[in-house]
């Protein structure tokens, strides 16, 4: 296909702003799906239905309209996946910026918009849901026009639900988004913008050919990993998978690579031909996935470590960002310390482990990666257990993010208070409209992974939205807080927090454990400590009474069974020093901290 008739674009939108409905209308308008096969949320449902079969996602859908080849490319919609988003954007020349005419811009949309503009994409702005009674198209158009530095009249107004204005939008995409460029006879360079593992077909990558030609069945080479393979099939999603002979310059499609390990074909890598005709330089911008958040994963009581290991090994086949190493906890047994791109990624992995592998998991409170500096040596710590005791190092650095919060103005005070209480440093506040503020903060990532979303949502009645991007490391007065039972540290509760939060953490954990630790035959001290300094203490008083009051002829069998029950319960207890603790107590104490939720 002549590249002048190709348009590659994506839709940048917040959740529920109508991306899937717009995609439905585009499928209809371009007759990509026969009327009798059409159903709502067509592309999303393809993914769901394919969960049980071959998993070729509708990651890039080819539409044809008026002699043009239109590739609609999906972008992941979350802050954890900024890098993946940036790679998807690299596959496009344009982006529809779709905004709910009632809700207005959200932080994440704004962040992705900035990414799109930085990537040089032409932005086609549109207000959706103009048919809603609550829609404020004039106000929202002004908000968007200010952002884009354009005339409010340039902002298209559509209803993806009724179809109003959708054809004009498609026309605008064709008119405004430039065609791709790229020489057919150059050496092949194709960008991998998504990659997945299918149990039947192995690793499937989604690619954008920048230059050269990618024939079906070519011997390919992944330039970052060096992996070579005989590709099985090139094709496009139309929207059902459709094999093609060749993907040419500017084209977007899938490639069944013939590889069996997704780590060999990561997002951002460049595919070229193996041997003669190979490109010498990869496409710019490849980055290794970098875990930002760590958590201990352990099988629940009675769960099986080897099952967890097998599940993680299998999950890793389809998730190149997941990393883990074995970890042993005295309180929780054998498990793994796993690294994630962010909290959402962590939740996704946990949910997949539980749902797809039928495991019950215990996760320790998430933590970030700290850099402990001693002289010219830097030790990377992503497990509180590895944190050295105070006095044995020069300083510690913690990761900082640049955070964007968009909030209605009446909650601005609450947002500032929250960010301030999380050791944030205000960068600036601007107003998108007189009603909506955009706040920028430098925040320690550690503060965000710890129930920040929940607090943001509850203090703004759900109206504020958040996005953040890594901003490097900064010296910080963080300390490791240990929790001790009768003098013995409980590893699962050790954490690294800023000194100003250490007492609050210690107090909270000791109070919580006082309620959860059963009474023993002796007083049990529950202490929180920084090094050898005790910062909080609670006591579980010794048990005084545990006896069956009555035991006569008719009671003996029942009472013996009660004792046997108690005996089985005792056998399940874990020993921390002299203290017997049911695993449920550890889990309950950890669960109460599982407050950090996805947006």
């Amino acid at each position: 296909m002549d590249t002048s008739h190709i348009r590659n674009f994506c839709i940048v939108a917040h959740i529920d702003h109508g991306k899937s409905t717009l995609a439905d209308r585009l499928l209809e308008l371009t007759h990509a799906v026969a009327d009798r096969d059409m159903r709502a949320q067509y592309l999303d449902r393809m993914d769901l239905e394919r969960e049980r079969g071959i998993t070729i996602k509708a990651q890039a859908v080819r539409l044809t309209h008026g002699g043009y080849e239109l590739n609609l490319i999906d972008t992941p919609g979350h802050v954890d996946f900024t890098y993946e988003v940036s790679r998807s954007l690299e596959a496009c020349e344009g982006a529809i910026l779709l905004v709910d005419a009632a809700q207005g811009l959200e932080a994440q949309t704004l962040a992705n918009f900035h990414l799109a503009r930085d990537a040089g994409l032409v932005i086609v702005p549109a207000l959706n849901k103009i048919d809603l009674p609550a829609a404020e198209p004039d106000q929202r158009a002004k908000e968007l026009a200010d952002l884009l530095d354009r005339d409010p009249d340039d902002i298209l107004r559509i209803s993806a639900k009724t179809g109003e204005g959708v054809e004009d939008l498609l026309k605008a995409v064709i008119d405004q988004v430039p065609p791709p460029t790229g020489e057919t006879d150059a050496a092949l360079r194709a960008l991998v913008f998504d990659s997945m593992f299918d149990p039947y077909r192995g690793v499937i990558t989604y690619v954008r050919v920048q230059e050269g030609e990618l024939p079906s069945g070519a011997r390919i080479r992944l330039m970052a990993t060096g992996a070579e393979s005989d590709a099985e099939e090139a094709g496009v999603m139309a929207p059902e998978p459709l094999p093609v002979d060749t993907l040419g310059p500017g084209e977007v499609g899938y490639l069944v690579t013939g590889l069996k390990d997704v780590h060999l074909a990561k997002v951002g890598d460049t595919i070229t031909l193996a041997g003669k005709g190979a490109a010498t330089e990869p496409l710019p911008g490849y980055r290794e996935p970098k875990p930002m958040v760590w958590s201990g994963l352990f099988p629940n009581e009675g769960g099986d470590y080897s099952e967890l290991r097998e599940a993680l090994d299998r999950l890793k086949l389809s998730d190149s960002a997941l990393s883990y190493e074995p970890e042993t906890s005295q309180a929780l047994g054998f498990g793994f310390r796993a690294g994630f791109l962010g909290l959402l990624h962590m939740d996704i992995v946990k949910e997949r482990l539980e749902r797809e592998f039928d495991l019950e998991l215990i996760a320790t409170a998430p933590n970030v990666e700290f850099h402990v500096i001693r002289g010219d040596e830097t030790v990377v710590v992503h497990n509180p257990a590895e944190m050295p005791v105070p006095g044995t190092y020069d300083r510690v650095e913690e990761p900082i993010v640049f955070a964007t919060v968009i909030t209605p103005k009446e909650y601005l005070g609450a947002v500032l208070d929250l960010c301030q209480s999380r050791r944030g440093e205000l960068v600036d506040t601007t107003f998108l409209t007189p009603e909506r503020a955009e706040v920028h903060y430098m925040l320690p990532l550690a503060e965000i992974v710890f129930d920040f979303f929940d607090h943001l949502k509850s203090s703004t009645r759900g109206y504020a939205s958040l996005d953040y991007e890594p901003w490097g490391y900064q010296e910080s007065d963080v300390v490791r807080v240990d929790v001790l039972l009768h003098g013995e540290p409980v590893d699962a509760f050790s954490t690294i927090v800023h000194r100003s939060k250490a007492y609050a953490y210690g107090k909270k954990m000791t109070e919580r454990l006082r309620e959860l630790i059963p009474r023993q035959l002796f007083d049990v001290a529950i202490q929180a400590a920084i090094g050898s300094k005790i910062i909080a203490r609670e006591t579980v008083k010794a048990k005084r009474k545990d006896v069956l009051a009555k035991c006569y002829g008719g009671d003996i069998t029942r009472k013996r069974k009660l004792l046997e029950e108690q005996k089985r319960g005792k056998a399940r207890l874990r020993k921390v020093g002299r203290v017997d603790v049911p695993q449920e107590a550890f889990i309950a104490a950890l669960r109460a901290d599982a407050g950090a939720k996805k947006k």
Binding site: L521, R544, G553, L563
Partner: protein
């Protein structure tokens, strides 16, 4: 275990009550009094059916419990005991106890019972505190206790037990102290004092589960136990089982049989029996019991053969309840050491015996020594 001839006890269950108390999970029913005469006849019949197996075994104790046995007529109770004596080899000096509620007896009835051979009387007093009695849903008043006790004395009883319960909602340590003092003032031969136990399948159990009534505070119950030990000890009662005190020589022989794992026969609805590692029990519903016995069948509802491990656990937890304790040789080397050191057990002539504090933590001791 001993070379002496086998002896046994007989327990007879009478499942009738005037009202059902909220805390009680015994096999007892209010409003079934119309079955009384059929029931007595069935007891006689069951005794006949059961007796052949116990030929030559000296019955050294009998215990009529319930329910409220004294809801039955004296004549019936007399006939019942006479029949038991005629079909079993009851020894002349056998201890024969009958349970009574203060409101179901007067001097005349009590005299009748004594004359019929019920030489020991066990009175369900529970408390001398009106509000505690109300919390336990007991219908009697403190005055009827004193009255019934005086009637027993007047009828000629010297071997009387008083049952007390502590730890009901609202009861304080002071109030419990007064109940103990009132009990001691009557000078009974024997006092049982039980910590209130919340049984799930009772009205009270449901109230506690719902949060309508607070569960007993174990620390307060521990204080109350210690108060009982002190006050009863000072009054000359020996503490011979977790919940039982007696003047010397008045320990309940029948109940000691349970704790020493001597054989016993159970007669009546839901009654349990035990012999040679076999524990069996009768069907619980009175009607079912009646129809089985009336058909001439032994009304067995179930049984279990104790495995050696079960038997060992039982032996330990029952014997630790009484001051005899267990031979030190029963316990794996060293297991008892931490408990001896922390003052929960004492070594006494090769036996391990719980201290007062140890009695309060008996479950811990049993589990620690056997697991």
């Amino acid at each position: 275990m001993s070379a002496s001839p086998e002896t046994a006890g007989i327990y007879v269950h009478v499942p009738f009550c005037l009202t059902r108390c909220g805390y009680c999970d015994f096999n007892a029913y209010a409003g079934l009094d119309h079955l009384a005469s059929r029931y007595v006849a069935a007891l006689l019949r069951e005794a006949e059916l059961a007796a052949p197996d116990w030929e030559g075994v000296g019955v050294v104790s009998a215990f009529l419990g319930g329910g409220t046995p004294t809801t039955l007529e004296v004549a019936d109770l007399k006939a019942l005991l006479a029949h038991v004596r005629s079909v079993f080899s009851v020894t002349p000096d056998a201890e024969v106890t009958i349970e009574a509620n203060p409101d179901t007896v007067d001097e005349q009835k009590l005299a009748g019972l004594l004359e019929a051979g019920y030489g020991r009387l066990s009175m369900g007093v529970q408390s001398f505190d009106r509000s505690v009695l109300a919390a336990l849903e007991r219908v009697h008043q403190p005055e009827s206790v004193t009255k019934a006790f005086r009637a027993a004395r007047a009828a000629g009883y010297d071997n009387v037990n008083i049952d007390l319960i502590y730890g009901a909602a609202g009861e304080t340590l002071e109030s419990w102290g007064r109940t103990l003092e009132e009990a001691v003032a009557l000078s009974p031969a024997h006092i049982s004092a039980y910590a209130l136990t919340i049984e799930p399948a009772t009205a009270l159990g449901r109230q506690v589960a719902r949060g309508d009534v607070p569960a007993p505070d174990p620390d307060l119950e521990a204080d109350m136990f210690e108060a009982a030990c002190r006050l009863l000890g000072e009054a000359g009662y020996g503490h011979y089982e977790v919940s039982n005190w007696a003047r010397p020589g008045y320990e309940c022989r029948h109940n000691l049989g349970y704790w020493e794992r001597r054989p016993y026969v159970g007669l009546g609805a839901g009654a349990h029996g035990y012999r040679d590692g076999l524990r069996s029990w009768n069907v619980r519903p009175p009607e079912e019991y009646l129809s089985m016995v009336e058909r001439g069948e032994l009304p067995v509802g179930g049984s279990e053969e104790l495995e050696p491990a079960d038997a060992y656990l039982e032996e330990v937890f029952l014997r630790l309840r009484i001051l005899q304790g267990i031979p030190a040789s029963w316990v794996d080397d060293g297991r008892e050491e931490p408990y001896v050191e922390s003052g929960l057990l004492v070594r006494d002539d090769g036996h391990l015996v719980p201290t007062e504090r140890g009695m309060l933590l008996l479950n811990e001791l049993v589990l620690g020594l056997t697991s």
